[in-house]
């Protein structure tokens, strides 16, 4: 069920000079959220910002055996994320959701490999929880600019999720992109059944989807496009998807195969990697 609430800020935890995790009292949305779904958020009552912004639900929060809210992982880049960074306990944030298509959660014997880039960690706490609940062996590949921007590592290890890290400056894990260790491990895990999940910048998603396909693994990627409404109303957040029957006839690598635009808010934000045509 779709809900819009003026959610009270339960707490706001700054993780660095621009990352924060904000906990919101939106229990009805939280209880209805499946991993990979998002909320449309508006901070402030005025008209700057005017439109809501999409955020993956980061954690579903429990206390005393009941869902009492949700949290968002945010990186300060614009007006809304700036306001979320600055907000304090007791402020309210308008929160509409849950929205969008969730991840398809795999069961054993399949393994789950979640690949996160930067703030793309956001959907993987709820997905990790769902996978662990199904006893699916889960690994988080997590890349960032530097070790100081890798967050919540203990949260994942406490749940038995294996970590593979990469940083651009080499301060923790592999130096370079997260696809470096991903490719290495896929090469090693020759026979294992693996579902690859990815969220992060689009070039990373494209690289992950390609690597997964190269090693004959399925992937599910969560995209983030500029969104106006989150409900399929405006047609702004479209992404090119391969035409159903044209896949085999796709010409050379360089020409884009036949495709059409779909609204990432209602057809996504989660797509099968092989369905997307990268622009």
């Amino acid at each position: 069920m779709l809900v819009d609430v003026e959610a009270r800020v339960i707490r706001n935890t700054r993780l660095s000079s621009d990352y924060n995790v904000i906990a919101l009292a939106a229990p009805d949305i939280a209880a209805a959220t499946a991993p990979g779904q998002f909320v449309m958020v508006k901070s402030g009552r005025g008209r700057d910002p005017l439109l809501r912004r999409p955020f993956s639900v980061f954690e579903v929060l429990w206390s005393n055996g009941r869902v009492d809210g949700l949290s968002l992982l945010s990186k300060r880049v614009g007006v809304t994320t700036g306001m979320l960074f600055d907000s304090v306990e007791g402020d309210t944030v308008s929160c509409l959701g849950p929205l969008g298509q969730p991840f398809a959660v795999v069961d054993p014997p399949a393994e789950a490999w979640m690949v996160a880039g930067g703030v793309g960690l956001a959907p993987f706490a709820t997905l990790g929880d769902a996978l662990v609940a199904r006893k699916t062996t889960t690994t988080l590949f997590y890349g960032a600019r530097s070790g100081a921007e890798l967050f919540y590592l203990d949260w994942f290890t406490a749940r038995g999720i294996r970590l593979v890290l990469a940083t651009e400056d080499g301060s923790i894990g592999d130096r370079g992109r997260i696809t470096v260790p991903l490719e290495r491990e896929l090469r090693r895990a020759a026979s294992a059944e693996v579902m690859v999940y990815a969220c992060g910048p689009e070039p990373m998603l494209e690289a992950v989807a390609r690597v997964a396909a190269t090693f004959k693994r399925q992937s599910q990627v969560s995209v983030e496009r500029v969104m106006g409404c989150g409900m399929g109303g405006c047609y702004s957040c479209v992404i090119p998807v391969r035409d159903a029957h044209a896949a085999q006839h796709a010409g050379s690598e360089r020409t884009r195969p036949p495709h059409h635009y779909v609204r990432s808010c209602i057809a996504g934000p989660v797509f099968r990697g092989e369905d997307l045509v990268w622009d």
Binding site: L2, K42, D48, L50, L51, R52, C234, S236, I239, Y261
Partner: protein, 313 residues
């Protein structure tokens, strides 16, 4: 009990609130948030005869109190609309206003014919005002002859109410309302968006892939109110007003300026639950002002205390 119903040609709307085209998908997307049967009408996303791909992203950007869009009229085409969306809209008991777009006069006529035969279409809104595509529409909407011709051609082939949607990107919008009335329109709707642009100063690139786009939202409201006022004075047919409505008092401003009904676009993106709030606000106003029929309020702006000599542009 207050009466919020209004009349557009032969069409009776249960209240004056209509979801604006392009801001409400095909209506069905919003069924989870809004009981569509409680709206005066639902103007669906602009339809061509054929499916259209639209412009590449970026398609929108937020600007002060507004947004620019250049969607490029992505759509499923009239045939799929009738097959895939109209039955559901009928089931939801929506009053469906189909916004139609053509590259040629014949396309408008063809669309009008097809939709007149479809079950569950309440009215046709002729989109002759989309600022974002080259292939037509706007070329009719920017010429008095073009407007007259397309309205009269559609008029001849349909008994559905015909409402051309006017562009504000002309010097004298009221003359376009008059041309529409002369051609047999049942009403006019305005405004479509204002042609505008935004630039990323670091990259020196336009933010929208289409370079220019249409400005909507609260930023345009005062200009839209003025244009509705001008049109109301120029024609006898109903005027459907829109542009930046985000509250009941915004809607009332349009009604008092001369709008028989209003449409809400951008504000629905911000709050898909806005419709019940708008209805409550209208009812509340009616009670406070001891009004029985909202239609009695249309065009009741009182300019007597001011200088009556009002100078156009």
């Amino acid at each position: 009990m207050t009466d919020l119903s209004v009349q557009i040609g032969s069409l009776r709307l249960r209240n004056p609130l209509i979801a604006a085209s392009g801001c409400f998908g095909y209506g069905v997307e919003y069924a989870e948030a809004v009981d569509l049967s409680t709206l005066g009408g639902v103007a669906v996303k602009g339809l061509f005869l054929k499916e259209r791909e639209g412009h590449p992203p970026e398609r929108i950007v937020e600007t002060p109190s507004g947004m620019l869009n250049a969607i490029g009229l992505q759509g499923i085409g009239v045939h799929r609309f009738i097959r895939e969306k109209l039955p559901e809209l009928r089931r939801l008991r929506a009053t469906v206003i189909v916004n139609i777009c053509g590259s040629t006069l014949d396309e408008y006529v063809e669309l009008a014919r097809i939709l007149s035969d479809a079950e569950g279409v309440a009215a046709l809104e002729l989109n002759i005002s989309c600022p974002n595509i080259k292939e037509g529409g706007i070329t009719f909407g920017c010429s008095l002859h073009g407007t007259f011709d397309v309205v009269s051609a559609v008029r001849k082939v349909t008994s559905l109410p015909v409402v051309p949607k006017l562009t504000p990107n002309v010097a004298d919008v009221a003359s376009f309302a008059k041309a529409s009335e002369d051609a047999g329109a049942d009403g006019v709707s305005l405004v479509n968006t204002f042609l505008a642009m935004a630039i990323d100063v670091d990259t020196r690139r336009p933010i929208l892939s289409n370079i220019v786009g249409g400005l909507s939202g609260p930023a345009i409201r005062p200009i839209a109110v003025r244009m509705v006022y001008e049109c109301r004075r120029a024609v006898k047919i109903p005027v459907i007003g829109m542009g930046g409505i985000a509250s009941a008092s915004d809607a009332l401003e349009f009604i008092i300026a001369g709008a028989t009904a209003v449409q809400v676009g951008t504000a629905n993106f911000v709050d898909p639950f806005i419709w019940a709030k708008l209805l409550d606000g209208l009812n509340d106003y009616m009670r406070r002002h001891n009004l029985e029929r909202i239609s009695d309020l249309v065009g009741t702006i009182d300019t007597s205390a001011r200088d009556k000599q009002w100078i156009s542009s």
